[in-house]
């Protein structure tokens, strides 16, 4: 039979696999993670709220970015407490910031001052690096933390000249408490946790 004249097709195909899951682009993974975090993990809607679920279904067709926009704008801007806790009626995250130990799970963490904002790209001067970077300045994608109309659930509205504690992965600053307004006491706990 023909299938015995050539190697097992599955073996032939395994040798020709065009994608290696261990070599995926970290930037691509980070972009997906950021989108999921923005659109799903910060979903402020109770799972049981049927009418809102239908709203989300319709919005999903229009793109996940629009989903985040409408949900966040329609509910106002959730705020983040000084310690990173989420205020009443605001969003929660699947992987929320739960204190200084949380930053160990992120690839970088630093104390920085915003020097420029271009769309979602935010440049920081690094005042003190806690982990993952030795640069004196760094530019990051801060999805949902820039601009006036769209502010991320669980993230501050970043402004030039202001100082923040920032943690994230790859080229992305995370919301959900990982990026927050600078507080000396919290900064000290980040420094301790990172060492």
């Amino acid at each position: 039979m023909n299938e015995h004249l050539v190697p097992d097709p599955l073996d032939v195909l395994r040798a020709s696999d065009p994608v290696d899951p261990d070599r995926l682009s970290s930037a691509s993974l980070a972009r997906i993670r950021a989108r999921v975090m923005e659109d799903v993990m910060t979903d402020p809607v109770a799972r049981q709220a049927a009418p809102r679920r239908f709203l989300r279904l319709g919005l999903a067709a229009g793109g996940v970015a629009a989903l985040a926009l409408v949900l966040i704008v329609s509910r106002g801007v959730p705020s983040l407490g000084p310690g990173g806790g989420v205020g009443p009626g605001s969003a929660s995250c699947v992987a929320p910031y739960s204190g200084p130990a949380s930053i160990v799970a992120r690839t970088f963490a630093f104390d920085g001052t915003v020097t420029a904002i271009d769309g979602e790209t935010v440049s920081f001067t690094v005042n003190q690096a806690y982990r993952g970077t030795t640069a004196s300045s760094i530019s990051l994608n801060a999805l949902g933390m820039t601009g006036n109309a769209i502010t991320s659930a669980g993230g501050p509205n970043l402004r030039i000249g202001e100082r923040y504690l920032v943690a994230g992965d790859d080229h992305f600053a995370w919301a959900c408490g990982y990026t927050q307004s600078y507080d000396a006491a919290v900064a000290a706990t980040w420094a301790a946790a990172a060492h």
Binding site: M1, E3, L13, P18, R23, L29, R33, V36
Partner: protein, 182 residues
Amino acid sequence: MDDRQRFHAAFEAHQRRVLAYVLRRVASAPDAEDAAADTWVVAWRRVDRLPDSDALPWLLAIARRVIANQRRGRERQSRLTIRLQRESRPPLGPDSENPALDTLESLPADDRELLRLLAWDGLTHVEAGAVLGISPNAVAIRLHRARKRFAEAFAKGSGSSRTSGGVEDQKPGRRLFGAKRP
């Protein structure tokens, strides 16, 4: 463990496999990112059905539908737009003439998907059946036929004549990233 924790655990465990799955099946890296992100959005919407263990087949079944919807959306676009997208894709490297991949592309869609699930996504017959919505017995029957068709086409070298039909016939965005190196 609440819904968010279950979702987060699944995301951390399977995000690479989900992205790899879509990369093998869509025409471009941006499309793959869209499909992967949309897969997780849908998974979250249906988190009450997220299996507590072995969630990958369930996730890939969602990804499969997301990709199908993505393709249908593209098919609704004008022929000119599709042609421009095709032309804008990065040129395939020398390995675009890989006989195994060309043979795979020449097979019927059902055969192609089953072989990819087993060979590339590393699923068992039971898991592949869960993705395709068929029984393990049906998987075994289809696999027997798919193997035979692949072997015949591979032996004849029919894969060397690449098809260039609609979106369904487009090659996946291979070697765009996550590419295997020699």
